[in-house]
Amino acid sequence: MDIIKEIYDAVMEGKVDDAASLVQQALNSKAEVNDILNKGLIAAMDVVGEKFGEGELFIPQVLWSAKAMQAGMDLLKPHFSSTNHTEKGTVVIGTAKGDIHDIGKNLVAIMLEGSGFKVADLGVDVTPERFVEKALEVKADVIAMSALLTTTMPSMGEVVSLIKAKKLPFKVIVGGAPVDQAFCQEIGADAYGMDAADGLRKVKGLLGR
């Protein structure tokens, strides 16, 4: 079987060790780095995200696939400079001020990392000022925020206001159980992620990746 197809299958099935050893084999056999990345790792992760969105796959399988992709990416990274590949982007992520529930945020961070984004995870209960400060520090492309409760949602709007007031270039994506598209529009955020896979898709969309 074509080694790129084998890499694709390993990521689809969330086989972390297989994905790593197959990527290494592909590199040893001088396969194109861009093919390994785009036709193997990324193509598989895209399908995993679609299947999750359609209810065919569930979070544990998605996480395994993300981990398999990450294992492959780690081996590919040293080769990126000699190809046309560039980093997908940098995302600052955290839960809204006052919110301490981080499982969903952790899942999004893992999926972003697995898909080749650089992630600066600020953890929980993050003030609007801290989001912006970190985004400036790491030259972020996107600020991603989650909230579990309606009472902590308003601070997401404060982040958007800060960005607009300072005319900063960061895109903002919001998510979490009580958040929806209407709230996203109300506060002027750029995107709403319904779940982890949708969040990943929207971040890619925001950056035209």
Binding site: F58, I59, P60, W64, K97, I100, H101, N106, T151, A177
Partner: protein
């Protein structure tokens, strides 16, 4: 107090209706094995006497309670450790198992309150959690003031979140008339609630 989470309960909460692949099933069983040693449930309730500053949900009730339950801090510390060790699948499954256990602890608390109410001649009651339909999240402070003399080990943050996170609180009422519906239909997550489907 013993809280048991079955494999079926956990798989349902994770989204699986059919048996998953064997390695996932193995991991589910492994996490369920861990769960027992990580859960330290505590629960308490108190009957509330008539007073001027009652939360609106309790107004007009003949019998009123405040209650809270927690699984303790061990479980979420382990979940955090697993995430930090790069074991996200294990962390997620264990956290989900904790959520199922928390629901069961809440039901145990509710059973105890109902038994107490039944002994006082009331059979039908309602419970509702701060942050849900018509109960301001700030009501958490009122509840935990009422339960201050109970050794629950729950700490409230300034934004009224509970630590340990696997904790819950609610108000309960029996007798009297309550405006509004008690069904799931008023809930924002009605259409995609995994507990209802």
């Amino acid at each position: 107090m013993n809280i048991k989470v079955s494999r079926e309960d956990l798989l349902k909460q994770l989204g699986y209706k059919d048996p998953p692949q064997p390695r996932l099933l193995d991991m589910v069983l492994e996490m369920l094995g861990l769960l027992g040693g990580l859960v330290e449930p505590r629960l308490a309730f108190k009957e509330i006497q008539e007073e001027n500053e009652l939360p609106p949900f309790l107004s007009g009730a003949a019998l009123k309670y405040a209650g809270a339950a927690t699984l303790g801090p061990k479980l979420e510390n382990k979940v955090k450790d697993l995430f930090e060790e790069g074991k996200a699948v294990e962390a997620y499954i264990l956290d989900t198992a904790g959520s199922v256990a928390m629901t069961k602890a809440g039901n145990m608390l509710w059973d105890k309150i109902r038994q107490d109410a039944e002994a006082k001649g009331f059979k039908t009651g309602l419970r509702r959690t701060p942050g849900c339909r018509g109960i301001n999240l700030e009501t958490q402070k009122w509840i935990f003031e009422k339960l201050a003399d109970r050794d629950l080990g729950i700490h409230l943050t300034s934004s009224c979140m509970m630590f340990p996170r696997k904790s819950l609180s609610f108000l309960a009422r029996f007798g009297g008339k309550l405006k509004g519906t008690s069904s799931c239909k008023g809930c924002l997550q009605y259409s995609d609630c995994s507990l209802r489907l």
